[in-house]
Symmetry: C3
Subunit: 430 residues, 3 copies
């Protein structure tokens, strides 16, 4: 088994391990998740106490749940949290009572168009309780019967938990990679992002880095806001970044641009997708979606894009039990992971060079860089790359600029620059 | 009958009333026209004496006509001004003589490709006389016969007449709406523009206005030049405007951009058309067409566009008797009128705001602005609008900018801003 | 026979005369070529001695050849330089020996996909010898036989030869037209360019010129580098230019943009193609192709584009014997030549003007510039041109700018400006 296959299996295996845990924006599910991630990478775990003011918000009470079910008159469990943690409206307050069908019904949620799927719903900021179930099962419920409802949850002061890993580089300038760890048994959205960033960080740890990198494993929205409020002083170092989500399905890659639209991360992400050679989609920034909306709020204006496959809300299985281990595939996870790695490759390997023989072309043939049997014109991709780098290395154009303009792969342009550097035809600028 | 229907009927009724009048660039036809408009809005009527120098031009002699006909040898009127004022070459000098067919022929104009239509032709600046007639009737004329030609017109010192209405607003900055009142019995070009501006002004009179608005009812070309020469001092206040013409036919809307191409009026007009949801066409400025060519001359460079339906010269009926009351429709007039109103709505309601909670999103849920039962993501158009306004209200982007970028209707963006203002999440900038 | 036909025949006749000569980057073939050109235009011939350092290069030894052949065991010439000078690998060192088929084979080049064509190959900078032949003939060779190989060439210190013509204008600012004279019996690439520039220069000699023009007839690459190294002081005068190549085939025109991409020569060349009315292609600059790559090297950054028909490498006959006198046509050469002339026409006739009657339109009718019998609107192309020139002659827009924006032919815009100048409505700026 080669490295590529190993990685894809590892990413998928991590998702499989995290899948059963009942996560929410607070609680032990997040802590268990972070503990598993810590087996791979040395994240620090932060706890923000309930009630802490974070900008316009307050950290909510912590939610934990042991069990939940609905029993019919015959004592049979017709809805059972142990079968799927999606059955409980996330953040449901504790309840234990007997109710009529009509009262119960007001607390039930189904997807009539997808009768075999359990929907995923939350009620973080309004105290409520409820159950989510298959529409097919809902239709079987006795409309005359009475039901025993049990939600054995706890909502009390505690903390919001998140994980963070900072990998310092030669420069203080940093790139931020963020994912959210608040969803229970859902795979593409967003255990795929969690697992991808885990293995991306793992790959980066051992590299000699030019830039610094920060990885966040946070509950969506409130976690991002909490993190921003606790790190205002150092945010200025963040030059760009990506939210990793929906990276495991079979769809093509989709890049959601930053608010700026032409930040370095936008240029790099789009070049990686262009170089990859398969179809992809680029969508403009919109201030909804995932935590890029917090990072890009006008008080921060960070250049955070998002590299996905099929975006949230564009696949039917989104926020439903069908977003399960079968919906994602190791090969798609690995493909996404390689694209993230390629983005970091460009960030680390981009630079400006100066052509030291700028008047006419240097005689590449005598340096062994050019076929001797010519038709007066170069005819291999590498010769083209050499000519592009020489012609545009005027101190103004970076290798990325040259790769974009030439439509040649960045790696080939970088390789050409290395060859020219070796032959003393180029000088690297600062 | 609801308001919308009433307006459309009113606009059409005004056109019907103005249709029979024989207008030209000077004379009593214009005065009668302005008197009828005065029954709706308080325009002032200006008279510029013949001979007055206006830039490179001089106000011509005033032209009036009582009657005109051509009689055949049998005393039968074969062309009769009383049947259509288009029959006379507009600005024909008086004539009364007997002529052979061959002499008469040199003064006759027809449309061989549209044998049932009378063409509309003028000879303002070269003294001449002539008749326009149906090609079918022309073919019936006895080529051997002699004819009595009578044009009972007067061309003598008088004045050029135009109407003007200035509606002051809180600001001196003004928008100019101009139409031309020099065409005789022709509907789309341009009684449609005259009637639309009459009812647009009527709707504006009772509004509390931020901007000032000026409405011109002028003879084309010479009227625009005369007005410009008499108002040089205050032209600097004009921030943009529109020439209203060809707004009554069944074609889609067409917006002709200003010379600038990206003036505020260009942005607003195009946004109104985009928000309206039906197909439309945008054409670039060209220095011919209607009076935008005078307003945009390099000595003034005003940003004057033109919002039409089918532009002049692009419909076969243009400058022919077929541009009659059947060629236009109340529903098209009303649709055009609403678009002009929507343009003014945006002009009046556009502003820049400042997000007062710019770090992360404010917690919209606790302010009642956000559904409590979430999927972590907003899902209604109004929630999207709230997020767009919050994210881009950084002091740089106006509501129009935000509406254009988000592709949400301006009215929804404005409504979102109002909600956020009410909740003290925004501050309006000057 | 009209002028147009004469020119096309003359250009073709010159190619026919130059076709048999065996050219290379040095040697008597170039000298003979330049001598024939001198019969048409007074080029000066420059000789740069072998060994001269020119930037990163050295002028190579001079190559001349008298004869070359391969004889089979029976004494029959199976490859004969006298039948086509393409048979010899250009710059082959002298050789006279008997070889086995297998040794011979290592020095033979064919085009298996085009078995009836002789390829064109060179070995300028690595001493080698070889023969190029039809693949069909190659297959007939006796694989057991021995062969007598003779290349009666001389490679010894001499010079690199090039031709130059400088036509001074009123301004020192100059435009450069360059072609390459190093290819042996090949027509489109590039005797077509050589002949076109000869007759372009011929047409320019007798003109009163605003700009200065320089014509180069140089060996590709090394010739351009040699010329640049000898003219560094005056290169600053070059405002743009074109490499003339592949201008004789039946394909549509192709314009390769300069590195700048929006230099004056780019605007002019594209306008000429647009005005010509037939389909054409515009391609972006890339730093390979012909000598534009040397002129555009970062030490010079000259704005040199290339106006071709089918570009090098995009026609199958490229660098093969099939690029012969039948592949090009007098009518295509003449069409290309007229486009080059039109480019010079725009360069010479472009200027900025100032509208002296900028407030409203001047009354064109009284100056005889406008039809008197109007429909209130102009209706001929010349009237449109007059209005465009008046409206945009604000000191900012050149006639070229106006022609591009109006999509009217440059010549019509220029004619309109002449008319307005005559009527004192315009003033020409500097």
């Amino acid at each position: 088994m080669d490295n590529k296959k190993q990685s894809s299996q590892e990413i998928y295996r991590l998702i499989k391990k995290l899948y059963p845990i009942c996560r929410s924006i607070t609680g032990n599910g997040v802590r268990q998740t972070l503990a598993i991630i810590q087996k791979h990478i040395p994240i620090t775990v932060q706890e923000v106490p309930s009630g802490t003011a974070v900008f316009d918000w307050n950290i909510p009470k912590e939610w934990n749940i042991k069990d939940a079910y609905v029993k019919n008159a015959g004592g049979e469990k017709v809805i059972d949290f142990n079968k799927s943690n999606l059955h409980v409206l996330n953040y449901s307050v504790p309840v234990h009572k007997k109710v009529s069908f009509s009262e119960l019904k007001r607390h039930l949620y189904t997807l009539p168009n997808h009768p075999d799927w359990i929907p995923y719903l939350t009620s973080y900021y309004k105290e409520d309780w409820g159950f989510c179930l298959r529409h097919r099962d809902f239709l079987q419920l006795n409309r005359q019967g009475r039901y025993e409802v049990v939600i054995d949850s706890v909502l009390e002061p505690g903390a919001l938990t998140y994980g963070e890993l900072y990998l310092p580089g030669r420069k203080k300038d940093e790139f931020l990679f963020s994912c959210y760890v608040c969803h229970p048994s859902l795979c593409n959205d967003n255990l795929s992002g969690v697992a991808l960033l885990t293995f991306l960080a793992k790959a980066l740890i051992s590299l000699k880095r030019t830039y610094s990198y920060r990885f966040l494993f946070i509950p969506e929205t409130i976690g991002a806001i909490a993190w921003l409020s606790r790190n205002e002083a150092t945010i200025v170092n963040i030059k760009g970044g990506l939210v990793a989500t929906c990276v495991g399905d079979s769809g093509n890659s989709t890049y959601k641009k930053t608010k700026n639209g032409n930040a370095i991360i936008d240029q790099v992400a789009q070049k990686v997708l262009a170089d990859a050679g398969s179809q992809y989609t680029v969508i403009d920034f919109m201030p909804y979606g995932s935590d890029e909306r917090q990072f890009s709020s006008p008080g921060f204006n960070l250049s955070i894009g998002s590299l996905m496959r099929t975006p949230y809300g564009r696949f039917a299985q989104y926020h439903a039990s069908a977003d399960d281990l079968n919906f994602i595939g190791p090969e798609y996870l690995a493909d996404s992971w390689r694209k993230y790695l390629d983005i970091i490759f460009i960030l680390e390997n981009n630079a400006k060079y100066l052509n030291l023989s700028p008047k006419g072309e240097p005689q590449l043939g005598k340096k062994g860089l050019y076929g001797s049997l010519g038709s007066c014109r170069s005819d291999t991709a590498m010769e083209f790359a050499l000519l592009w780098v020489l012609n545009f290395s005027d101190g103004q154009h970076s290798l990325l600029d040259i790769a974009v303009r030439s439509q040649l792969p960045f790696k080939q342009i970088r390789q050409a620059a290395d060859l020219l550097l070796e032959k003393s035809l180029l000088k690297r600028l600062n």
